[in-house]
């Protein structure tokens, strides 16, 4: 019996058909994610990391190999997986409250139960008081928090984040990283997988950083991050790890330090 929220990817291969030519997008992907782990996937654009995530979400269906959630093969989307997209994708015609409650609509919970769940999650992401507000009135960071709350209301085993902070400005982004860490710590048994191309963000948040390379997309290296939390971005160990990862992308060390100043 596998634990709830375990993801097992075995010998995954995915090809796309473009004008009759088959191009491999992902090849020989093997990845194990334990319950409650925070894993980041990082790689250059075009390395297939988004395709990998879409396969786990279930938005792409045909693949070779196995993607197993709790030992069961993934086939199509399901409420056991929550998703946060880069563009928050809140429905503009629903208030924040109803957006967050979207996933509960099918469930006939008793009086006010759904309302309580929604309230609790708004509190979790720090959006109390914004229940009746429409998405167009929210800032980017707030909208993304609402999207995170929406993804969590169904108590998914797995939270999949597709560059969730990619569209935010640098300061909001750092702030949201703190928030995301807090959320992850409070929802201790939810496994989180995040796609990013920000190395610092990956190290700051993850237990494991998966580095991918492109054409075809393969896993180049998996680096464990065992720094104590909350992590200090300026610490020596943090910088060393960052350097190590950047080296994988053949970026020189000087760049790292000039960037850090």
């Amino acid at each position: 019996m596998t634990q709830r929220g375990t993801l097992d990817i075995v010998n995954l291969k995915k090809t796309f058909n473009v004008n009759g030519n088959t191009t491999p997008v992902l090849e020989n992907i093997n990845l194990k994610v334990k319950q409650g782990e925070f894993v980041s996937i990082i790689g250059p654009s075009g390395c297939g990391k988004t395709t990998l995530l879409r396969l786990v979400i279930g938005l792409e269906n045909s693949y070779e190999g196995q993607i197993l959630l709790d030992g069961k093969r993934i086939n199509g989307p399901g409420l056991d997986r929550g998703v946060v997209f880069q563009d928050h994708r809140l429905l503009p015609w629903l208030t924040v409250e109803r957006n967050v409650g979207l996933g509960l609509e099918g469930k006939r919970n008793g009086n006010g139960v759904n309302k309580q769940i929604v309230e609790a999650h708004l509190k979790l992401v720090g959006l109390q008081g914004f229940e009746k507000v429409y998405p167009a009135q929210l800032s980017g960071g707030m909208a993304q928090r609402a999207a995170i709350a929406r993804a969590l209301v169904n108590q998914p085993e797995l939270l999949l984040l597709d560059e969730p902070l990619g569209a935010l400005d640098a300061l909001t982004r750092m702030y949201m990283q703190l928030e995301l860490e807090k959320i992850w710590q409070r929802e201790a048994d939810v496994t989180m997988i995040m796609i990013t191309h920000d190395v610092e963000e990956a190290i700051y948040l993850s237990d494991k950083v998966v580095i991918m390379s492109s054409r075809p997309g393969t896993i180049k290296k998996i680096i464990r991050v065992e720094l104590p939390r909350p992590r200090d971005r300026a610490s020596y160990d943090f910088m060393k790890l960052k350097e190590e990862i950047l080296e994988e992308f053949q970026l020189h060390a000087e760049n790292v330090f000039s960037y850090a100043i």
């Binding site: 997209f85 979207l102 009135q137």
Partner: protein, 255 residues
Amino acid sequence: MDVNKVVLKLRGLALPLALLAVWWIITKNEWVSAVFLPPPETVAATCVKLLLKGKIFVDLNESITKVAQGFLIGITAGFVLGTAMGLSSTIEKLFGPLFNAVRQVPILGWIPILILIFGLTELAKIIFIALGAFYPMTLNTFDGCRQLKKEYLEVARVFEFNKPRLLWRFILPSALPSILSGIRVSMSEAWMLVIGAEIFFKTRGGLGDMMWEAKSKVQMDIVFITILIIGLIGFILNHVMKILENRLLRWRSSN
């Protein structure tokens, strides 16, 4: 209200007042026969007389009843066909070409054939009005149903929404702006066509008939007043729809 806005409002009044003055001077000096241009005071007096006599309200009521029936039939049919074509590409391919072909015929061109088939009846007029409301409603609803972005469809899939919930929560709300403007356009179209129907079908009753009769008797003052009333009602209908749109589409504004 700041001074600038008051100035702008006052400027807007300048031209109408000047026109009124010119009108008054022309009629005072009888440069133009009162038959073609009755003096402003005569028009005002006739207006009061008409309102007191009350027959105008009977005509008004008749026009509005007719337009309401035609409009409701037209937008309902347009909503159904537009949604069906928007949701199913098979239905679109089936009905689209015929719809587009029929639409090329200017709406007034249908009058003779409607008269031939249905005679000079209320039914003929209502069908005529409904047809006029039907086109813009169908087009706007169809367009609206195609508005939903692929990204949102993915959200629906992630939450495992079934077809009816997808329609209710995603497709119709995203189509709403387009549908509402369809209703507004259909409404002003229907309002124009009810006047047209009363003129072209040459039957008794309604504001259009009142106008036509005034024309035949060369009662210019009544022609003026009916134009004014027809314009005013058109304006009110449009305005009410706009208020409704703003209320229903509050989610679009960022403040």
